[in-house]
Symmetry: C2
Subunit: 221 residues, 2 copies
Amino acid sequence: MSRTLIHNLSISLDGFATGEPQSAEAPFGHAGQRLHEWVFATRFWALQTSSDDATDVGGSVGVDDAFAGRHGLGVGAEIMGAHKFGPPGWQDDPDWRGWWGPDPPFHTPTFVLTHHRRPPMVMEGGTTFHFLDASPTEALATARAAAGGLDVRIGGGPTVVRDFLAARLVDHAHLVQVPVVLGRGVRLWDGLEGLEDDYTVEAVASPSGVTHLTLTLRSDT
Amino acid sequence: MSRTLIHNLSISLDGFATGEPQSAEAPFGHAGQRLHEWVFATRFWALQTSSDDATDVGGSVGVDDAFAGRHGLGVGAEIMGAHKFGPPGWQDDPDWRGWWGPDPPFHTPTFVLTHHRRPPMVMEGGTTFHFLDASPTEALATARAAAGGLDVRIGGGPTVVRDFLAARLVDHAHLVQVPVVLGRGVRLWDGLEGLEDDYTVEAVASPSGVTHLTLTLRSDT
Protein backbone atom coordinates (compact mmCIF):
# COMPACT_ATOMS: atom_id res chain seq x y z
CA MET A 1 0.00 0.00 0.00
CA SER A 2 1.60 3.22 -1.16
CA ARG A 3 1.42 5.95 1.52
CA THR A 4 1.65 9.73 1.36
CA LEU A 5 4.32 11.11 3.70
CA ILE A 6 5.89 14.27 5.00
CA HIS A 7 9.44 13.94 6.33
CA ASN A 8 11.67 16.40 8.16
CA LEU A 9 9.55 19.53 7.80
CA SER A 10 11.05 22.02 10.25
CA ILE A 11 8.92 24.66 11.95
CA SER A 12 9.60 27.33 14.55
CA LEU A 13 7.94 27.45 17.98
CA ASP A 14 5.42 29.82 16.45
CA GLY A 15 4.78 27.47 13.55
CA PHE A 16 6.59 29.11 10.65
CA ALA A 17 8.18 26.68 8.19
CA THR A 18 9.99 29.48 6.37
CA GLY A 19 10.81 33.12 6.97
CA GLU A 20 10.43 36.08 4.66
CA PRO A 21 11.13 37.42 2.12
CA GLN A 22 12.29 34.55 -0.07
CA SER A 23 15.00 35.37 -2.61
CA ALA A 24 17.72 33.66 -4.61
CA GLU A 25 20.19 34.53 -1.84
CA ALA A 26 17.86 33.57 1.02
CA PRO A 27 15.63 30.60 0.15
CA PHE A 28 14.17 30.69 3.69
CA GLY A 29 14.14 34.47 4.08
CA HIS A 30 15.17 35.83 7.47
CA ALA A 31 15.05 32.32 8.94
CA GLY A 32 18.33 31.57 7.19
CA GLN A 33 19.46 28.05 8.09
CA ARG A 34 18.19 28.17 11.67
CA LEU A 35 15.32 25.76 11.04
CA HIS A 36 17.66 23.17 9.59
CA GLU A 37 20.74 23.18 11.80
CA TRP A 38 19.42 20.10 13.58
CA VAL A 39 19.68 18.04 10.39
CA PHE A 40 23.12 19.38 9.46
CA ALA A 41 24.39 17.87 12.74
CA THR A 42 23.28 14.34 11.85
CA ARG A 43 25.21 11.46 10.31
CA PHE A 44 22.43 11.28 7.72
CA TRP A 45 23.40 14.73 6.48
CA ALA A 46 27.11 14.02 6.67
CA LEU A 47 26.62 10.98 4.45
CA GLN A 48 24.54 12.99 1.98
CA THR A 49 27.28 15.53 1.56
CA SER A 50 30.37 13.30 1.65
CA SER A 51 32.08 11.40 -1.13
CA ASP A 52 30.45 8.11 -1.99
CA ASP A 53 32.71 5.71 -0.15
CA ALA A 54 33.24 7.59 3.12
CA THR A 55 31.96 5.91 6.28
CA ASP A 56 33.81 7.91 8.95
CA VAL A 57 31.83 11.04 8.26
CA GLY A 58 30.85 11.90 11.83
CA GLY A 59 27.51 13.39 12.79
CA SER A 60 25.04 12.46 15.49
CA VAL A 61 23.34 9.06 15.46
CA GLY A 62 20.52 9.68 17.98
CA VAL A 63 16.86 10.40 17.50
CA ASP A 64 17.48 13.30 15.11
CA ASP A 65 19.44 11.02 12.80
CA ALA A 66 16.83 8.27 13.06
CA PHE A 67 14.09 10.60 11.90
CA ALA A 68 16.20 12.37 9.29
CA GLY A 69 17.26 9.07 7.72
CA ARG A 70 13.71 8.15 6.79
CA HIS A 71 13.68 10.90 4.17
CA GLY A 72 14.19 8.68 1.16
CA LEU A 73 13.32 5.21 2.47
CA GLY A 74 10.65 3.61 0.32
CA VAL A 75 9.83 6.87 -1.41
CA GLY A 76 9.12 6.61 -5.13
CA ALA A 77 8.08 10.17 -5.99
CA GLU A 78 7.98 13.67 -4.50
CA ILE A 79 5.50 16.50 -4.91
CA MET A 80 6.76 20.03 -4.19
CA GLY A 81 5.44 23.55 -4.52
CA ALA A 82 6.71 26.25 -6.82
CA HIS A 83 8.30 28.11 -3.89
CA LYS A 84 10.44 25.12 -3.06
CA PHE A 85 11.68 24.75 -6.63
CA GLY A 86 13.03 28.25 -7.01
CA PRO A 87 13.05 31.91 -5.97
CA PRO A 88 10.31 34.31 -7.07
CA GLY A 89 10.41 34.60 -10.87
CA TRP A 90 12.06 31.26 -11.67
CA GLN A 91 9.19 30.56 -14.02
CA ASP A 92 10.51 33.32 -16.29
CA ASP A 93 14.03 31.84 -16.40
CA PRO A 94 14.15 28.99 -18.94
CA ASP A 95 17.56 27.91 -17.57
CA TRP A 96 16.46 27.51 -13.93
CA ARG A 97 16.86 23.88 -12.92
CA GLY A 98 16.28 24.09 -9.15
CA TRP A 99 18.53 25.01 -6.23
CA TRP A 100 20.31 21.71 -6.02
CA GLY A 101 22.79 21.52 -8.91
CA PRO A 102 23.01 18.73 -11.49
CA ASP A 103 22.29 15.87 -9.00
CA PRO A 104 19.34 16.89 -6.81
CA PRO A 105 18.71 14.93 -3.59
CA PHE A 106 15.40 13.41 -4.72
CA HIS A 107 16.46 10.52 -6.99
CA THR A 108 12.88 9.90 -8.10
CA PRO A 109 10.25 11.51 -10.32
CA THR A 110 9.59 14.88 -8.69
CA PHE A 111 6.44 16.86 -9.44
CA VAL A 112 6.57 20.65 -9.18
CA LEU A 113 3.15 22.27 -8.76
CA THR A 114 3.05 25.41 -10.89
CA HIS A 115 0.69 27.22 -13.20
CA HIS A 116 3.63 27.66 -15.62
CA ARG A 117 4.13 24.29 -17.22
CA ARG A 118 7.33 23.34 -19.01
CA PRO A 119 8.80 20.09 -20.38
CA PRO A 120 10.27 17.58 -17.92
CA MET A 121 13.92 18.05 -16.87
CA VAL A 122 15.97 14.90 -16.55
CA MET A 123 18.69 15.43 -13.96
CA GLU A 124 21.52 13.20 -12.72
CA GLY A 125 20.99 10.59 -10.02
CA GLY A 126 17.46 9.58 -10.93
CA THR A 127 15.66 12.88 -10.41
CA THR A 128 13.32 14.05 -13.15
CA PHE A 129 11.37 17.26 -12.58
CA HIS A 130 7.85 17.27 -13.96
CA PHE A 131 5.80 20.49 -13.96
CA LEU A 132 2.18 20.07 -13.08
CA ASP A 133 -0.79 22.42 -12.88
CA ALA A 134 -3.10 20.29 -10.78
CA SER A 135 -5.12 20.04 -7.57
CA PRO A 136 -3.62 18.10 -4.64
CA THR A 137 -5.80 15.09 -5.43
CA GLU A 138 -4.85 15.11 -9.13
CA ALA A 139 -1.17 15.66 -8.38
CA LEU A 140 -1.19 12.79 -5.91
CA ALA A 141 -2.74 10.43 -8.45
CA THR A 142 -0.07 11.37 -10.99
CA ALA A 143 2.78 11.01 -8.50
CA ARG A 144 1.38 7.72 -7.18
CA ALA A 145 1.34 6.29 -10.68
CA ALA A 146 4.97 7.33 -11.13
CA ALA A 147 6.09 5.96 -7.74
CA GLY A 148 5.98 2.32 -8.83
CA GLY A 149 4.18 1.11 -5.74
CA LEU A 150 6.43 3.06 -3.37
CA ASP A 151 5.38 5.98 -1.14
CA VAL A 152 4.85 9.58 -2.23
CA ARG A 153 6.56 12.34 -0.25
CA ILE A 154 5.05 15.82 -0.01
CA GLY A 155 8.25 17.84 0.04
CA GLY A 156 7.00 21.32 0.93
CA GLY A 157 6.97 24.23 1.19
CA PRO A 158 4.43 24.93 3.88
CA THR A 159 1.59 26.10 1.65
CA VAL A 160 1.66 22.83 -0.27
CA VAL A 161 1.94 20.77 2.91
CA ARG A 162 -0.99 22.69 4.37
CA ASP A 163 -3.13 22.00 1.30
CA PHE A 164 -2.45 18.26 1.48
CA LEU A 165 -3.05 18.11 5.24
CA ALA A 166 -6.25 20.13 4.94
CA ALA A 167 -7.51 17.64 2.35
CA ARG A 168 -6.50 14.74 4.67
CA LEU A 169 -4.38 13.32 1.86
CA VAL A 170 -1.34 12.77 4.12
CA ASP A 171 -1.05 9.43 5.92
CA HIS A 172 1.92 10.33 8.10
CA ALA A 173 3.67 13.64 8.76
CA HIS A 174 6.95 14.24 10.58
CA LEU A 175 7.49 17.80 11.75
CA VAL A 176 10.49 19.12 13.64
CA GLN A 177 9.84 21.98 16.02
CA VAL A 178 12.94 24.12 16.46
CA PRO A 179 13.29 26.40 19.53
CA VAL A 180 13.27 29.72 17.72
CA VAL A 181 10.48 32.30 17.42
CA LEU A 182 10.54 33.51 13.80
CA GLY A 183 7.68 35.98 14.11
CA ARG A 184 6.92 36.08 10.38
CA GLY A 185 7.00 33.95 7.26
CA VAL A 186 4.65 31.17 6.18
CA ARG A 187 2.81 29.37 8.98
CA LEU A 188 2.23 25.67 8.64
CA TRP A 189 -0.82 25.59 10.91
CA ASP A 190 -3.05 28.21 9.28
CA GLY A 191 -6.37 26.77 8.20
CA LEU A 192 -5.80 23.45 9.94
CA GLU A 193 -8.13 23.95 12.95
CA GLY A 194 -9.24 20.58 14.33
CA LEU A 195 -6.47 18.58 12.66
CA GLU A 196 -6.24 16.49 15.85
CA ASP A 197 -9.70 15.08 15.16
CA ASP A 198 -8.26 13.11 12.25
CA TYR A 199 -4.60 12.70 13.24
CA THR A 200 -2.98 11.19 16.29
CA VAL A 201 -0.03 13.31 17.41
CA GLU A 202 3.12 12.00 19.09
CA ALA A 203 5.88 14.23 20.42
CA VAL A 204 9.42 13.29 21.33
CA ALA A 205 11.97 15.79 22.55
CA SER A 206 15.54 15.39 21.36
CA PRO A 207 18.57 16.27 23.52
CA SER A 208 19.53 18.58 20.64
CA GLY A 209 16.66 20.86 21.63
CA VAL A 210 14.23 20.12 18.80
CA THR A 211 10.95 18.26 19.25
CA HIS A 212 9.86 15.67 16.71
CA LEU A 213 6.12 15.68 16.09
CA THR A 214 4.57 12.80 14.20
CA LEU A 215 1.02 13.01 12.92
CA THR A 216 -0.69 9.82 11.80
CA LEU A 217 -4.01 9.75 10.01
CA ARG A 218 -6.55 7.79 12.02
CA SER A 219 -7.61 4.61 10.27
CA ASP A 220 -11.28 5.54 10.57
CA THR A 221 -10.82 8.88 8.76
CA MET B 1 16.46 36.74 45.03
CA SER B 2 12.80 37.04 44.04
CA ARG B 3 12.15 35.74 40.54
CA THR B 4 9.37 36.36 38.03
CA LEU B 5 7.79 33.13 36.81
CA ILE B 6 5.20 31.69 34.45
CA HIS B 7 3.83 28.27 35.40
CA ASN B 8 1.55 25.89 33.53
CA LEU B 9 0.56 28.14 30.65
CA SER B 10 -1.04 25.82 28.10
CA ILE B 11 -0.85 26.52 24.37
CA SER B 12 -2.03 24.67 21.28
CA LEU B 13 0.31 23.39 18.55
CA ASP B 14 -0.40 26.60 16.69
CA GLY B 15 0.40 28.69 19.75
CA PHE B 16 -3.01 29.80 20.98
CA ALA B 17 -3.34 30.04 24.78
CA THR B 18 -7.08 30.60 24.56
CA GLY B 19 -9.80 30.25 21.96
CA GLU B 20 -12.54 32.67 21.02
CA PRO B 21 -14.91 34.24 21.81
CA GLN B 22 -14.56 34.51 25.57
CA SER B 23 -17.81 34.62 27.55
CA ALA B 24 -19.12 33.90 31.03
CA GLU B 25 -20.08 30.42 29.85
CA ALA B 26 -16.84 29.79 27.94
CA PRO B 27 -13.80 31.39 29.64
CA PHE B 28 -11.53 29.88 26.95
CA GLY B 29 -13.93 30.29 24.03
CA HIS B 30 -14.09 27.42 21.54
CA ALA B 31 -11.02 25.84 23.17
CA GLY B 32 -13.21 24.71 26.04
CA GLN B 33 -11.14 22.70 28.50
CA ARG B 34 -9.00 21.05 25.85
CA LEU B 35 -5.87 23.00 26.73
CA HIS B 36 -6.10 21.99 30.39
CA GLU B 37 -7.07 18.32 30.36
CA TRP B 38 -3.44 17.41 31.00
CA VAL B 39 -3.51 19.13 34.41
CA PHE B 40 -6.89 17.70 35.40
CA ALA B 41 -5.29 14.25 35.13
CA THR B 42 -2.57 15.00 37.70
CA ARG B 43 -2.41 14.28 41.42
CA PHE B 44 -1.66 18.00 41.87
CA TRP B 45 -5.10 18.82 40.52
CA ALA B 46 -6.81 16.03 42.46
CA LEU B 47 -5.34 17.41 45.67
CA GLN B 48 -6.46 20.94 44.78
CA THR B 49 -10.03 19.82 44.35
CA SER B 50 -10.35 17.27 47.15
CA SER B 51 -11.28 17.74 50.78
CA ASP B 52 -8.41 18.89 52.95
CA ASP B 53 -7.39 15.60 54.53
CA ALA B 54 -7.64 13.26 51.56
CA THR B 55 -4.43 11.59 50.44
CA ASP B 56 -5.79 8.77 48.26
CA VAL B 57 -7.00 11.17 45.59
CA GLY B 58 -5.52 9.45 42.56
CA GLY B 59 -4.11 11.31 39.60
CA SER B 60 -0.86 10.88 37.67
CA VAL B 61 2.48 11.46 39.41
CA GLY B 62 4.79 11.69 36.39
CA VAL B 63 6.34 14.64 34.62
CA ASP B 64 2.99 16.45 34.17
CA ASP B 65 2.41 16.35 37.93
CA ALA B 66 5.97 17.46 38.66
CA PHE B 67 5.57 20.56 36.53
CA ALA B 68 2.01 21.29 37.64
CA GLY B 69 2.97 21.11 41.30
CA ARG B 70 5.37 24.02 41.04
CA HIS B 71 2.43 26.39 40.55
CA GLY B 72 2.40 27.80 44.06
CA LEU B 73 5.82 26.84 45.41
CA GLY B 74 7.63 29.91 46.70
CA VAL B 75 5.21 32.27 45.00
CA GLY B 76 4.27 35.36 47.03
CA ALA B 77 2.16 37.29 44.54
CA GLU B 78 0.43 36.93 41.17
CA ILE B 79 -0.15 39.39 38.36
CA MET B 80 -3.02 38.65 35.97
CA GLY B 81 -4.74 40.41 33.10
CA ALA B 82 -8.31 41.66 33.01
CA HIS B 83 -9.32 38.81 30.66
CA LYS B 84 -8.24 36.24 33.22
CA PHE B 85 -10.23 37.88 36.02
CA GLY B 86 -13.58 37.86 34.30
CA PRO B 87 -15.64 37.74 31.13
CA PRO B 88 -16.09 40.82 28.91
CA GLY B 89 -17.88 43.49 30.90
CA TRP B 90 -16.97 42.34 34.42
CA GLN B 91 -15.72 45.86 35.09
CA ASP B 92 -19.32 47.06 34.95
CA ASP B 93 -20.49 44.50 37.52
CA PRO B 94 -19.67 45.69 41.05
CA ASP B 95 -20.42 42.24 42.43
CA TRP B 96 -17.99 40.33 40.19
CA ARG B 97 -15.35 38.70 42.37
CA GLY B 98 -13.59 36.45 39.85
CA TRP B 99 -14.39 32.99 38.44
CA TRP B 100 -13.12 31.06 41.42
CA GLY B 101 -15.70 31.41 44.21
CA PRO B 102 -14.99 32.59 47.75
CA ASP B 103 -11.58 30.82 48.08
CA PRO B 104 -9.58 31.43 44.87
CA PRO B 105 -6.54 29.21 44.16
CA PHE B 106 -3.98 31.99 44.55
CA HIS B 107 -3.58 32.37 48.34
CA THR B 108 -1.44 35.50 47.92
CA PRO B 109 -1.86 39.14 46.96
CA THR B 110 -3.07 39.03 43.34
CA PHE B 111 -2.83 42.05 41.08
CA VAL B 112 -5.37 42.44 38.28
CA LEU B 113 -4.22 44.75 35.48
CA THR B 114 -7.17 46.89 34.42
CA HIS B 115 -7.94 50.46 33.48
CA HIS B 116 -10.99 50.26 35.76
CA ARG B 117 -9.67 50.46 39.28
CA ARG B 118 -11.70 49.40 42.29
CA PRO B 119 -10.93 48.81 45.99
CA PRO B 120 -9.10 45.62 46.99
CA MET B 121 -11.21 42.48 47.55
CA VAL B 122 -10.18 40.31 50.46
CA MET B 123 -11.12 36.70 49.73
CA GLU B 124 -10.82 33.51 51.77
CA GLY B 125 -7.61 31.49 51.88
CA GLY B 126 -5.15 34.35 51.66
CA THR B 127 -6.11 35.77 48.26
CA THR B 128 -6.61 39.53 48.03
CA PHE B 129 -7.38 41.01 44.62
CA HIS B 130 -5.81 44.39 43.93
CA PHE B 131 -6.76 46.34 40.80
CA LEU B 132 -3.92 48.10 39.10
CA ASP B 133 -3.64 50.38 36.07
CA ALA B 134 0.07 50.10 35.44
CA SER B 135 2.79 49.16 32.97
CA PRO B 136 4.40 45.70 33.30
CA THR B 137 7.45 47.21 34.99
CA GLU B 138 5.36 49.20 37.47
CA ALA B 139 3.05 46.27 38.19
CA LEU B 140 6.03 44.02 38.81
CA ALA B 141 7.54 46.46 41.31
CA THR B 142 4.24 46.62 43.17
CA ALA B 143 3.77 42.85 43.19
CA ARG B 144 7.39 42.27 44.19
CA ALA B 145 6.97 44.54 47.20
CA ALA B 146 3.87 42.58 48.21
CA ALA B 147 5.51 39.18 47.72
CA GLY B 148 7.61 39.37 50.87
CA GLY B 149 10.80 38.17 49.24
CA LEU B 150 9.07 35.31 47.42
CA ASP B 151 8.64 34.95 43.66
CA VAL B 152 6.05 36.72 41.50
CA ARG B 153 3.96 34.63 39.11
CA ILE B 154 2.59 36.10 35.87
CA GLY B 155 -0.68 34.24 35.72
CA GLY B 156 -1.93 35.09 32.23
CA GLY B 157 -3.81 35.46 29.99
CA PRO B 158 -1.64 35.36 26.91
CA THR B 159 -1.61 39.08 26.18
CA VAL B 160 -0.22 39.83 29.63
CA VAL B 161 2.32 37.02 29.40
CA ARG B 162 3.38 38.32 26.00
CA ASP B 163 3.90 41.82 27.35
CA PHE B 164 6.10 40.59 30.19
CA LEU B 165 8.10 38.29 27.90
CA ALA B 166 8.55 41.03 25.31
CA ALA B 167 9.96 43.29 28.04
CA ARG B 168 12.25 40.43 29.20
CA LEU B 169 10.79 40.75 32.69
CA VAL B 170 10.24 36.98 33.06
CA ASP B 171 13.08 34.91 34.52
CA HIS B 172 11.56 31.50 33.88
CA ALA B 173 8.52 30.43 31.86
CA HIS B 174 6.87 27.01 31.75
CA LEU B 175 4.60 26.43 28.77
CA VAL B 176 2.66 23.28 27.99
CA GLN B 177 2.08 22.52 24.34
CA VAL B 178 -1.07 20.48 23.85
CA PRO B 179 -1.56 18.46 20.63
CA VAL B 180 -4.56 20.34 19.27
CA VAL B 181 -4.76 22.90 16.46
CA LEU B 182 -7.10 25.65 17.69
CA GLY B 183 -6.92 27.81 14.57
CA ARG B 184 -8.06 30.99 16.33
CA GLY B 185 -7.94 32.79 19.65
CA VAL B 186 -5.05 34.67 21.26
CA ARG B 187 -1.57 33.61 20.18
CA LEU B 188 1.16 33.60 22.77
CA TRP B 189 4.00 34.06 20.28
CA ASP B 190 2.89 37.18 18.42
CA GLY B 191 5.45 39.96 18.69
CA LEU B 192 8.08 37.75 20.30
CA GLU B 193 10.39 37.28 17.27
CA GLY B 194 13.90 36.46 18.43
CA LEU B 195 12.91 35.40 21.95
CA GLU B 196 15.50 32.62 21.73
CA ASP B 197 18.29 35.21 21.68
CA ASP B 198 17.56 35.95 25.34
CA TYR B 199 16.04 32.69 26.56
CA THR B 200 17.31 29.14 26.57
CA VAL B 201 14.56 26.72 25.64
CA GLU B 202 14.23 23.15 26.92
CA ALA B 203 11.58 20.73 25.70
CA VAL B 204 10.45 17.49 27.31
CA ALA B 205 7.70 15.33 25.89
CA SER B 206 5.32 13.69 28.32
CA PRO B 207 3.78 10.25 27.73
CA SER B 208 0.44 12.04 28.10
CA GLY B 209 1.02 13.70 24.73
CA VAL B 210 1.84 17.22 25.89
CA THR B 211 5.28 18.82 25.59
CA HIS B 212 6.65 20.90 28.45
CA LEU B 213 8.67 23.89 27.24
CA THR B 214 10.78 25.79 29.73
CA LEU B 215 12.27 29.15 28.84
CA THR B 216 15.01 30.55 31.05
CA LEU B 217 16.35 34.08 30.74
CA ARG B 218 20.06 34.01 29.96
CA SER B 219 22.13 35.45 32.77
CA ASP B 220 23.83 37.90 30.41
CA THR B 221 20.54 39.43 29.25
